[in-house]
């Protein structure tokens, strides 16, 4: 016989037992005492915070036979007992998730007018209400607005934003909050004592943290651990079960990050994986750990109470070697592991890539003066540029040009005597900036253009094709703004179309590659062969140029 799960056994039975939701329970109790019961409530909040429990308790309280209003529900009167045993006729629980249709709601509305069978009120609890179809919601509206005096609706949902505003406005709304770790731990201790589960304090603390504010998660985890292990429940047990990592192992990983020792990091990850650590759990723990480091760094030791001495010392040591900007970037990166995994990436690969990126981002960051605590030996850059790992990869065959980094707010200094060279060299950054502003078409246009001349505040830009030219002419303000943001100078943009510069002399300061137009191709065997390649032909007609030809080394051996 499957025993009742602990979270069902220890469902709160009265208002006092609901943990961490005083703002809800006290308000409800006051309303009951003063007899001001609303006809419709909406309980919203994350899973496992007490919505369904509160709904049932409220249902008991309004019907309870106890003389003393403050003592309701007393859980001893026949009506309360009926609810607790799940056989009350006046508490109708509807699972909206499996009864989403309008017919289910109509059926319910038909019966709303019937009087309660035993108690004063008939209470309809509609759980997971966000799943109702739109027409079902609409069918409910009229009844929800003016139900018969003997009816109370309690709607419960984890996703209030999916509930129609017309429904929301007809309900008294109570938002349940995530339950603080400390309270969850207390409750776990209480249950453990009653169930005679021998559990370490640290183990319960770990469970409470893992539950992330959801009591049901915490209690089921305790249940699962207690029922499946013999003897005392230790922190090690919990870690093994969750595939979680100890603080020491975590420290090794973070040190590897701080020292940009990718090899060490990957090796440690490999060891952990062999030990059976859950990589997604690891990413979550990593975010947690880095956040602690960040708090430590910003607020000093007092910002982070708790934790044993060894752990605190570890944090203090590492906080010195990691800059604030770096920490916040790492936190972002490790948080994105979650989305990567959802996108089908294997968790360990996602984390490994984050380690690779961490080292690489550090290589292209702009070094600034090391912070005062940083030792000279391990001078860490203050800020790292935004992640460039996801930008387009270099085209095959060509050498890799690192995309120029563009830390927002620090304009690129242009040489006063020769500003054009600087502009050209960093012209790609304008494209990058536009891309970040989601102006993709404009970015494409700017990427196929070159600044050719500066006259006072006028900047002449040469576009390779008409499409880009038209677009940039239209949106020249955006380009001007981007240029100003990057180079710190307010230019006025003049757009030119290639081959049609009337009266504009073009400066060509030391062009990096010899421009070769299709007509200038020497009648070389190689050339003609390439120019006949249909792909190349197509490229040439859309404004491409043959810049350089890589000769094949040896004849390829395929097979």
């Amino acid at each position: 016989m499957a025993e009742q799960a602990l979270y069902r056994k220890y469902r709160p039975q009265n208002f006092a037992e609901i943990v961490g939701q005083e703002h809800v329970t006290i308000t409800l109790q006051n309303a009951l005492r003063e007899g001001r019961i609303a006809h419709a409530y909406l309980f919203s909040g994350p899973r496992g915070t007490g919505k369904t429990s509160a709904a049932r308790i409220l249902a008991k309280a309004v019907n309870c036979l106890n003389e003393d209003v403050a003592a309701r529900p007393d859980n001893t009167c026949p009506l309360c007992v009926a609810v607790n045993e799940g056989r009350s006729l006046d508490l109708i629980e509807i699972d909206a998730a499996s009864h989403t249709g309008v017919d289910n709601i109509r059926e319910m509305i038909d019966r709303v007018n019937l009087m309660p069978s035993e108690g004063r009120y008939k209470v309809y609890v509609i759980d997971e209400v966000h799943m109702l179809s739109t027409s079902a919601f609409n069918a409910l509206l009229k009844t929800l607005e003016e139900p018969p005096a003997h009816v109370i609706f309690i709607l419960a949902t984890t996703e209030p934003h999916k509930v129609l505003p017309t429904v929301l406005s007809r309900c008294q709304r109570f938002a349940f909050r995530r339950i603080p770790e400390g309270l969850i731990k207390q409750e776990l201790r209480l249950i453990a004592d009653r169930e005679q589960i021998d559990a370490e304090d640290a183990a319960l603390a770990r469970i409470a943290r893992y539950a992330n504010g959801g009591m049901r998660d915490a209690v089921s985890l305790l249940d699962q651990l207690a029922s499946s292990s013999s003897g005392q429940l230790t922190l090690q047990d919990v870690n093994e079960f969750l595939g979680a990592v100890t603080n020491e192992a975590m420290g090794v990983l973070v040190t590897a990050l701080a020292e940009r020792d990718t090899k060490k990091g990957l090796a440690q990850l490999n060891v952990l994986r062999e030990q059976g650590v859950d990589m997604q759990q690891l990413a979550a723990q990593m975010v947690d750990y880095l956040r602690n480091l960040l708090l430590w760094k910003v607020g000093g030791e007092t910002a982070l109470p708790g934790g044993d001495d060894a752990y605190r010392q570890q944090l203090a040591e590492q906080a010195q070697h990691l800059a604030t900007g770096q920490l916040s970037r790492l936190i972002r990166d490790f948080s994105s592991v979650r989305t990567d995994v959802r996108g089908g990436m294997e968790p360990h690969v996602a984390i490994e890539l984050t380690f690779v990126d961490a080292a690489n981002a550090a290589n292209i960051s702009t070094p600034t003066a090391p912070s005062k605590e940083t030792t000279a030996k391990r001078a860490t850059p203050h800020t790292a540029p935004p992640r460039t790992g996801r930008t387009l990869p270099p085209k095959s065959g060509k050498s890799v040009a690192k995309p120029p980094s563009a830390p927002a707010g620090t304009p690129v200094q242009l040489d006063e005597n020769d500003p054009l060279t600087g502009l050209r060299r960093n012209w790609k950054m304008v494209g990058h900036l536009l891309r970040r502003q989601k102006l993709y078409r404009l970015q494409a246009g700017v990427n196929s253009s070159t600044p050719v001349r500066i006259e006072g505040q006028r900047l002449f830009i040469d576009f390779q094709n008409e499409l880009s030219y038209n677009l940039a002419t239209q949106e020249h303000r955006q380009v001007e703004r981007a240029v100003q943001q990057i180079f710190g100078e307010a230019f006025k943009i003049v757009c030119l179309l290639q081959g049609q510069h009337e009266g504009v002399t073009i400066d060509t300061p030391a062009p990096q590659v010899e421009k070769v137009t299709p007509t200038q191709i020497k009648p070389d065997n190689d050339m003609s062969e390439i120019a006949n390649d249909p792909l190349i032909k197509a490229a040439l007609t859309t404004g491409g140029r043959i810049v350089k030809i890589h000769k094949k080394g040896n004849e390829e051996t395929n097979g």
Binding site: M1, T100, S227, R273, E274, G553
Partner: protein, 330 residues
């Protein structure tokens, strides 16, 4: 004490499940998560056998109940939906009606939901209430690749066991027990990357292993291929079989990951040991960012294929964008 379960590895899970059965404190819903072929379904089946077996030491694997379970014919075990299909609301309603009835033979009624992440969202939501408070004789077993792929409300109603890749050693030993000769056992154990189910299939099916080798070799060839026509041609061939394209890309991710590991001088940890000689020069020729971006690309393309985009288009783009290395003279 229970008989040994027919499961290789995952001792920590088996130990805990056995303990629960022994103490009579079973949960009403289990969720096994882990990558494909890691043994989620096998574990679910073993649990079903352990609960439905009629022998004194369950699971015996011999009695009628055990045999019926392994053939998916036991009246008290239902697997919904069929292989490769997605769970629909209608099926969930069926189950809701069915669940109230007492078990036919044993004391339990098991409901297996493989690949719960593929369930229609409405179906998953419809299951919520039943999953929360089922009758005492009902036990649910769900499987999914990750917790994140399911509704959090589903996950929080289940006891979750996140199955982890097995150590290579364990797989190698298992393969030896199945009378696989040493060299092949080592190779399969490496390529399996912790997935015992794959190792088992590869051991039985010569063709599968040969194909897996071919995929790795294909990738290396592709990197050496500069001619874009040839690349597009390859993409076209790959796009012909969408199932195989998925698996090919998975193989490619392991090759690229190996290249990353090689870049950081960690040759002992790589998976495609059979390609080691060829991967080394290739890794030297590419920058770490190139490898990293190629890896990201392959993953993106894989997710596109899963999302049912035009396979040819996605694969062509991938083939054109993967880096190219000149083959140095031998």
């Amino acid at each position: 004490m229970c008989e040994k379960w027919p499961i290789i590895g995952h001792e920590w899970v088996v130990k805990r499940l056995q303990q629960q059965i022994k103490q009579g404190r079973l949960a009403h819903a289990y969720l096994f998560t882990g990558p494909a072929h890691i043994g989620k379904r096998t574990l679910g089946q073993a649990l079903a056998q352990a609960l439905l077996c009629t022998a004194p030491k369950p699971p015996c694997g011999q009695c009628r109940a055990c045999r019926l379970v392994s053939q998916n014919h036991h009246p008290d075990m239902r697997i919904v939906p069929e292989e490769g299909e997605m769970l629909k609301v209608g099926q969930v309603r069926d189950i809701e009606a069915d669940i109230a009835r007492k078990p036919v033979e044993g004391r339990f009624k098991l409901f297996l939901f493989p690949n719960m992440h593929m369930a229609h969202p409405a179906a998953a939501n419809a299951l919520l209430k039943t999953l929360e408070e089922p009758p005492a004789h009902a036990i649910f077993v769900l499987t999914a690749p990750t917790q994140a792929a399911l509704l959090p409300t589903i996950v929080s109603r289940c006891q979750v066991y996140a199955l982890r890749p097995l150590a290579m050693q364990t797989i190698e030993e298992a393969l030896r027990q199945w009378q696989i000769d040493d060299a092949r056992a080592v190779e399969i154990a490496h390529l399996a990357d912790g997935r015992i189910g794959w190792a088992r299939r590869a051991a039985q099916d010569e063709w599968l292993l040969a194909k897996r080798r071919q995929w790795g070799a294909d990738f290396i060839d592709l990197i050496y291929t500069r001619n874009r026509w040839q690349r597009l041609d390859q993409a076209k061939r790959l796009a012909g079989n969408s199932q195989e394209a998925q698996e090919t890309l998975t193989a490619w991710t392991t090759v690229l990951r190996d290249m990353l590991l090689l870049h950081y001088q960690m040759p002992d940890t790589i998976i495609n040991t059979n390609l080691l000689d060829q991967l080394e020069p290739l890794t030297k020729a590419l920058t770490v960012m190139q490898i990293r971006q190629a890896l990201a690309r392959v993953y993106t393309t894989k997710s596109y294929l899963e999302a049912n985009v035009n396979a040819l288009l996605a694969l062509e783009t991938l083939h054109l964008r993967l880096p190219n290395v000149q083959r140095t003279s031998f």
